[in-house]
Homo-oligomer: 272 residues x 2
Amino acid sequence: MGLAGSAALPLLGKAALGIDGKNAGTAAAQPLSVGVAGYTFAKFDVDQSIAMMKRIGVMNLSVKDIHLPVNSSDAKIKEVMDKYKAAGINVYTVGVIYMRTKEAVEQAFQYAKKVGVNMIVGVPNYELVDYSEEQVKAHDIRLAIHNHGPEDKLYPGPKDVYDHIKNRDPRMGLCIDIGHATRAGYQPEKAVKDFKDRLFDLHIKDVSLAAKDGKAIEIGRGAINFPALVESLRKIKYQGMCSIEFEKDMTDPLPGIAESIGYFKGVVAAEA
Amino acid sequence: MGLAGSAALPLLGKAALGIDGKNAGTAAAQPLSVGVAGYTFAKFDVDQSIAMMKRIGVMNLSVKDIHLPVNSSDAKIKEVMDKYKAAGINVYTVGVIYMRTKEAVEQAFQYAKKVGVNMIVGVPNYELVDYSEEQVKAHDIRLAIHNHGPEDKLYPGPKDVYDHIKNRDPRMGLCIDIGHATRAGYQPEKAVKDFKDRLFDLHIKDVSLAAKDGKAIEIGRGAINFPALVESLRKIKYQGMCSIEFEKDMTDPLPGIAESIGYFKGVVAAEA
C-alpha cells in the first residue's frame, strides 16, 4: 500500500479509534459506540431531548414512541426526523415497542421502514414471535427483543429472549437491558458473552442492588461491574450501541445522565 | 493471623478498597479519593454548593474564600463549617489563597488553623516563600503551591513551584493544576511522577487543547490522558485528593461536573 496506505491511518477519525480517540493506537482497538434510549427523556419533548443530547455530547438515539408515536403520519415522521437530522443525531433504532396483536407487529415494521432504521427494539407476545419472524424476513429489518426484569411475564431476562429466537432467522436477536437483567439474576458481563451471536443492542444503566428490589441509580454507583462488562464487550467484538437508559430523577435527569455517560466513557477509555 | 485476619478483609470498607469498592479485591489496591475545588462553585453560595456536592456524591471539599473569606470572624467560620459538617462534607484544605504580603501569609495560616485543616493551597509571591516556610514550621500546616498556567508570572507550571520548595521543609509542596500544567506544556501523567515527593494535592480538569489557548472542558473530552494519569498516581502511591475544578458553564455547571466526576471514577474503577 506504500505511502498512501500509511497516510490513510490518521484519516480514520474518532469513530474508528474508539469513542474518544485516545489510547486506542491501532485500528484493531474495538470501538464501543454510546447512545441514549429515548425512554430516558420520557418527561421531555423532542426539542428538550435534543438539547440534552447535545449537552452530553452523545449523538446516537433509539427513538421511543413517546417522542414519535408508532401511528404517526408520514408528515409527523418527517417533521421529527428532520429535527434529529438537523441536530446531527443518528437515529439508529426505534423502541421499545410492545407488540400484543398481529396489527401491532405490522405497524411496528411499517413504522421502522418509514423512520428509516434497520432494527426494532421490541417485545412481541410469545404467540406473535412466528409472525414477527415473517415480518423480519419480509422487510429485512432486524428485531431485538428487550428483557424487562423479574416482573416481566414474557422476557424477564436475556435467556428468556434467547430461547425464543435462537433457532430462528439470524435477524432475530436481543437488546439486553443490563439493569433488568441484573435484577433478574444475570451478570451482564457473562450474559453478553452467553448470547453474543444474537446481541444486537444494549440498554446500559446501573441498579442499586443485584436483586428484584434494585433501583435505578447513576452508572458506577450501583451493583453492575462496568469494567468487566466493557472487557466482555471487547472480547466478543460487540458492534452495536451501548445506549444509556436512565430512569432515576426523570424530571431532572441531566446530571445523572451526564455522570453515567462520563463513567461509561471513562471505563471504555481506560480499557482501550 | 488465622480466621480473624481473613475475616477482617470485608470489614475494610469502601474507602480502603478504592473509590467505589469494586474490582479492587486486595488491600494493596490504591485508594484515589475524589473531591471538589471550591472555585467550581464560584457562582453559587454555600447551600447551593452543598446541594450540588450531594447530588454528585462527592464529599471532599477544598474551601475557597468566595464561600468562606479569609478574614471571616470565628462566628462566621463556625457557621459555614457547621453547614459542611451537617452535610457530611469533609473540608480537607483551604484555597487557592493568594499571598502578596507578609500579613496575607499570616492571615492564611491563622485562617487554616481556625478552619481546622492541616494544609493550605496557596500562591505566595517569591519574596514571601521564606516567610511562608517559617509559618509552615510554626503552625505545622502544610503549604501546597498551585500553578496557574502560561499566563502566571509566578508559577506557570509545576516545575516553577518545585524549584522554589524542593530544598525547603518537607511540608512545602505542590497542588498541581493539571489543566494549567497541560497548557504550560507539561504532561500530567509525567508531572505527578517528576514531583511525587512533594505532591500534596491535585486540581483535576480537562482542557480542549494542550496549548496556551486550551479551554476548560468536561473531563474525558479534552487533551489530557486520564488513564495514563491514574496509572501514574497508582504507581507513585498518591495519597492526596483528586479534586475536580470545573471552569466551564460556570452558571450552570452541574451536568459538566457530573460528567467529569463520572469519567474520572470510571477510569479509576477500570484501572483498579
